[in-house]
């Protein structure tokens, strides 16, 4: 437990030192999306009488949680290839699980904070949504899942450029396809089936359900948690491999 705290402590000192930079990055993208898409869709109704801004906000919350928790992969990558601090972790008497759990939690903290910033933006723009424990649960679960995925990809990447490519192929498509900006109903059935399997889809559904006072889709929550479990195991395997 102390070693997990050590990894968290390290990441949180970094977070504290670069807080204003991080805050700016947490604000800019959702604000742009909110202005660009929210403004364009102002007054339009989506689905069962939901205002577009109210539809968009949970999508942005889920997307921010995903993007910024996944951002830990860049930090890990830089620490491995540039600062070489990963060797310091590897010569410490800690198990691979401890490292994976520590980094997953660190990434999740960033995802949760970024999601909180989007919620604040929603409050500022007077979007109609609910703040409740369900929303918090959905954000925490989403952040943990994508943070675990980040560790796997960071260990698989051989260079910084690889990391950028991985983000382009995994994160960007999910950000636009998984019901973040528009309902999935417009897609053909076969594509919708594929998209619904991607982890951001259940994450967005969870956040949206909580934000719209609906009961949480627990099956989707279970599915998301299971995917997170797979990512954790994968992270464990690739961390072990990265040792040699």
């Amino acid at each position: 437990m102390q070693a997990v705290m050590a990894i968290l402590l390290r990441e949180n000192i970094i977070l504290k030192r670069k807080f204003w930079k991080y805050l700016a990055s947490w604000v800019v993208s959702p604000l742009l999306y909110f202005v660009a898409f929210g403004w364009a869709g102002r007054g339009r109704m989506v689905g069962a009488g939901v205002d577009y801004a109210a539809f968009l906000l949970p999508g942005l919350v889920a997307m921010s949680a995903m993007t910024h928790s996944f951002g830990i992969s860049t930090e890990i990558n830089i620490s491995r290839f540039y600062w070489k601090t990963f060797d310091e972790i590897r010569t410490a008497p800690i198990s691979d699980w401890v490292y994976v759990v520590g980094e997953t939690m660190s990434g999740a903290v960033r995802g949760i904070l970024a999601a909180c910033v989007v919620v604040l933006l929603g409050l500022i723009f007077r979007v109609d949504f609910a703040l409740n424990p369900g929303l918090f649960f959905a954000v925490v679960l989403t952040s943990l899942v994508f943070s675990a995925l980040a560790i796997s990809t960071a260990m698989l990447a051989k260079t910084h450029a690889d990391q950028g490519l991985i983000s382009s192929f995994i994160i960007t498509p999910m950000a636009f396809l998984c019901g973040t900006f528009f309902p999935l109903g417009a897609y053909p059935g076969w594509l919708r089936s594929i998209i619904q399997c991607l982890p951001l889809s259940p994450a967005a559904n969870l956040v949206r359900a909580a934000a719209h006072h609906q009961s949480l889709p627990w099956l989707q929550a279970l599915y998301l948690a299971a995917v997170g479990g797979v990512f954790l195991v994968a992270a464990m395997v690739v961390v072990k491999r990265a040792k040699d």
Binding site: Q2, A3, M5, A6, I7, L9, R10, I13, I14, R17, K18, S79, W83, K84, T85, D87, E88, I89, R90, T91, A92, P93, I94, S95, K243, D244
Partner: protein, 302 residues
């Protein structure tokens, strides 16, 4: 303290460590000397569990590096060749994170952090960000970090590489203090003067094999205590003698000017391999490398 048995490490078709066996003793400084690419870093990485051996066995403080890596990690402190510090941390924070990673109780850790900052002469810099440190200060902090959890064995990979003479002396002082504290040190270097100044025992490695092993004085005596550098057909040749009288006799037989000097570990390596340890010194020497063996052989006849 450290036992390496028939250790092999291959990277594809390249053999970095080639059936190497060693017994390293407790409380001594062991200098692993060799040129770049000799296999020194790979050896240290295997001892520190960072690289898995292809074949053979390695035991550090009684723990098998493959079967009990946690035991090894608890017994070692590693000074990595790269100055690997998080750029967002102060010196104190870097040590505190290391202490947590090694499971040190808080009170003991705080005491040790203070002690190690003092040991490295960095007390006043404790709250400065590490990137503002000079190379020498970072290296001293790196040694302090390796010592923080009080390990039995310290592995140092090229601890003074890239440092100026003054910073290097300070690092050497720290290394000597570690010996006085009874630590077992393994220090890789391609600086022969470093190996000579610090090591109780020098192990010369080339192409992944041990080519000489002994105390610095003994190795130099075997090569010949006095070296004479004189011009040859393809550059400078070096000839070794037991004493100055023999060297003087040889000098008298030369028509060209020559230099007489005390032999050193660089000469030992040169004599054994026909090459210099330090690549910078190889310029102009490679050509006469093959002649050197002949020159050295003549010494035995003289």
């Amino acid at each position: 303290m450290i036992i390496l048995e028939d250790l092999v490490k291959r990277f594809g078709e390249i053999t970095a460590v080639d059936h190497l066996s060693l017994h390293l003793e407790k409380g001594k400084i062991h200098g692993l000397l060799g040129p770049n690419g000799a296999g020194k870093t790979t050896l240290v990485r295997m001892m520190s569990t960072l690289t898995r051996p292809t074949a053979g066995k390695a035991f550090v403080a009684g723990c098998n590096v493959e079967r009990d890596p946690m035991g090894v990690k608890r017994s070692i402190g590693v000074v990595h060749q790269t100055l690997n510090f998080d750029p967002e941390l102060t010196a104190r924070e870097a040590l505190v994170v290391h202490g947590h990673l090694h499971g040190m109780p808080k009170a003991r850790m705080e005491k040790r952090v203070q002690e190690m900052l003092a040991f490295a002469g960095l007390e006043k810099e404790a709250n400065r960000m590490v990137p503002t440190f000079s190379g020498g200060m970072k290296r001293r902090l790196s040694i302090a970090r390796a010592m923080l959890h009080d390990p039995e064995v310290i592995l140092m990979d090229e601890p003074s590489v890239g440092l100026d003479a003054h910073a290097r002396r300070k690092v050497w002082d720290l290394v000597r203090k570690l010996r006085e504290a009874g630590r077992t040190l393994i220090l890789t270097t391609h600086y022969m003067e470093e190996a000579q100044a610090l090591s109780d025992r020098v192990i010369i490695v080339d192409h992944g094999k041990v080519i000489a092993d002994g105390n610095p004085e003994g190795l130099i005596s075997e090569a010949g205590r006095v070296a004479v550098d004189h011009p040859g057909h393809a550059g400078t040749l070096t000839k070794f003698f037991e004493n100055r009288e023999e060297a003087a006799q040889f000098l008298a037989s030369l028509d060209e000017p020559a230099t007489v000097r005390a032999a050193n570990l660089e000469d030992v390596f040169l004599k054994l391999t026909g090459r210099h340890v330090n690549p910078k010194e190889q310029e102009g020497v490679a050509a006469n490398a093959s002649r050197h063996g002949h020159s050295a052989a003549r010494k035995h006849h003289s």
